[in-house]
Symmetry: C2
Subunit: 115 residues, 2 copies
């Protein structure tokens, strides 16, 4: 969840996310549409987004088609909604839940996509 929030905090990645929100696109075309940046950079952004489960990848011959994962984005919304939970109980639970995640985050960071 922390990964998703961090991923979306980057403007370039939001741009990518919007491009493939309602359709599939190959990496090259994404790079062309974004412009101003190398294919390599796009590829790395896609890796981050994939690591945050914000996009899904499908292979088609030599190409890789990417598409946004609406579900994870919905969970991100829900996460922000927790800040509105008027019950203090729910606030405490959310804080504790996240604090547990942070411990593992420090160790794993972004290395969970390498396996």
């Amino acid at each position: 969840m922390d990964a998703a929030l961090k991923a979306v905090a980057e403007p370039r990645r939001r741009e990518i996310l919007r491009l493939i929100w309602s359709r599939e696109l190959p990496a090259t075309e994404i790079a062309e549409r974004v412009g101003q940046v190398s294919r390599s950079a796009i590829s790395q952004h896609l890796a981050v987004l994939k690591g945050a489960h914000l996009i899904v990848e499908r292979r088609d011959g030599t190409r890789r088609l990417y598409r946004a994962d609406h579900g994870e984005m919905a969970r991100l919304r829900g996460f922000l909604d927790d800040f509105w939970a008027d019950g203090l109980e729910r606030l405490r639970l959310a804080a504790e839940r996240e604090q547990q995640n942070r411990t593992s985050d420090r160790r794993n960071d972004r290395s969970d996509t390498h396996g």
Copy 2:
């Protein structure tokens, strides 16, 4: 808006935000409750949050009371909601709107709080 998203992407700042979500707290007490980090670091986090309009500051003698600004957080939610706008028109508008903001972001960055 970009500033708010970036501010919230940092776990420590979310922790602070939760502490002062439903009550005012002086900086020192925030630092004590967060722990594990110097008062200086907290002060800098508070500056970032203030720059993103996510908190408001009120002075009381020698102390400074901080409280979360729910309105800005609501706007953050609304921003994420734009990703769900099914109409492609609205998607395009959102993209263009942000692209305009980005141009000024490059120049201003976080310096708009210095005035």
